[in-house]
């Protein structure tokens, strides 16, 4: 595994809920990342974010790691959940609440 792949593996292992995104939770730099943050905020579970714009290696590496071409990407307990479309679908069906163990 390359260095970036190792770093990503480490990040998803150490953080229960982690969102790879463009920008920060406070200042998302893309509409899709913004939507993903809004969903997580709504659920109220604590989460970490990784700003891929600050780290070109992670930005390229996460796409290979997940076999997924776009960002944002959500990982929960080391498992890839999906991008913002899947997050929205799962939020609307209540699956995401269940997955994150949120009260809502």
């Amino acid at each position: 595994m390359s260095d970036a792949q190792n770093r990503i593996a480490d990040i998803v292992k150490k953080n229960d809920i982690v969102l790879f995104m463009k920008g920060t939770a406070l200042f998302p730099q893309c509409g899709f990342s913004s939507r993903a943050v809004a969903i997580l905020d709504r659920l109220g579970a604590p989460y970490q974010t990784v700003d891929v714009l600050q780290d070109p290696e992670i930005r390229t590496g996460i796409k290979e790691y997940s076999e997924w071409p776009t960002i944002p990407q959500l990982y929960v307990k080391g498992e890839f959940v999906g991008g913002s479309d899947i997050m929205m679908e799962m939020f609307e069906s209540g699956e995401l609440q269940q997955l994150l163990g949120a009260e809502a």
Binding site: G31, F32, K63, E67, W68, P69, T70, I71, F80, V81, G82, G83, D85, I86, E89, M90
Partner: protein, 82 residues
Amino acid sequence: MPMAPKEIEKLIRAAIPDADVVIRDLAGDGDHYAARVVSRSFEGMSRIRQHQAVYAALGGRVGGELHALQIETAVPQPETNQ
């Protein structure tokens, strides 16, 4: 470079022949689309696998020349005759 919705539809149909594809242009700029893809072949696949099949059909264009493609996938529901 912007892509025509017809081209997106054609690529998806070429890879998933039975797919029912609806493309919507979200921003009118030829760069932000939403695709709804309904196919029998999605049956038994996780959402991630279904979306990956659509990404694969578009052969690496998503995230590159096609900046924004919202994807929604579904398995066709059996028709009810009432």
